[in-house]
């Protein structure tokens, strides 16, 4: 059974600081996703990572994938308040199988 673990589950960070969120998954997977969810809102796709060593960046967020370690990281650079949200990683297999989500990391960026 495919399981996804995220840590930390809660993260409070100061504006301007850097931090990394970790996502481990239990079995071989073809794709890894990062989604953002604001309170009471839907899930917004941030990144899709396919291959070992893949790195993608968008603004202050950078995601990477190590398929051998079954680990993805979401690195936040110089955090700003607008990044406050819950971040989920999810994995699936090619063939449009269901997404298996982690529990999410609730990020609060404070002044």
């Amino acid at each position: 059974e495919l399981k996804v673990e995220q840590n930390p589950l809660f993260l409070s960070m100061q504006e301007g600081k850097n931090y990394t969120i970790y996502c481990n998954y239990s079995t071989t997977s073809d794709r890894l996703y990062w989604y953002r969810q604001d309170p009471g809102k839907s899930l917004e796709s941030l990144f899709v990572l396919l291959s070992n060593g893949a790195v993608k960046q968008e603004g202050r967020l950078m995601a990477s994938l190590d398929t051998k370690a079954r680990l993805s990281t979401l690195h936040i650079t110089a955090a700003v308040h607008d990044l406050s949200a819950t971040y989920f990683c999810a994995v699936d297999m090619v063939g449009n199988t269901p997404l298996v989500f982690g529990k999410g990391t609730r990020l609060s960026v404070i002044a």
Partner: protein, 114 residues
């Protein structure tokens, strides 16, 4: 940008009643999904749908649940005889074919069972 739309945004129903949650996936997408998220918890898969039939379902998706694509645009989730524990946010998602195509989620329907 095309998006997945869901109606209603909030549904309040008495326990034991039937509810139908509606979704309009993105028009050129081929794969459709329902997920649910109990307040404060992670997102859980319910069912996937492709080529007019269920392709996969989870343990949560028991005989109480059904899905339908009644026409070329709508994708519905029916919950019969609702229970208190069905209270959750229900998300519809759709995706196109392709390795880097993420699932796009609707804004969700908040279902409250009284």
């Amino acid at each position: 940008e095309p998006e997945v739309t869901q109606t209603p945004s909030h549904q309040v129903t008495q326990m034991g009643q039937e509810v139908i949650l509606r979704c309009v996936p993105i028009s050129n997408h081929l794969y459709f999904y329902w997920y649910r998220q109990i307040l404060g918890q992670k997102v859980e898969f319910l069912v996937s749908f492709y080529n007019n039939e269920i392709s996969e379902k989870s343990e949560i998706f028991d005989d109480q649940f059904s899905v339908e694509r009644p026409d070329g645009s709508n994708f519905t989730l029916k919950i019969r005889s609702t229970k208190l524990e069905d209270s959750a946010m229900y998300f519809c998602a759709s995706s196109a074919q392709g390795l880097e195509q993420p699932q796009h989620f609707g804004d969700g329907t908040r279902l409250s069972i009284l």
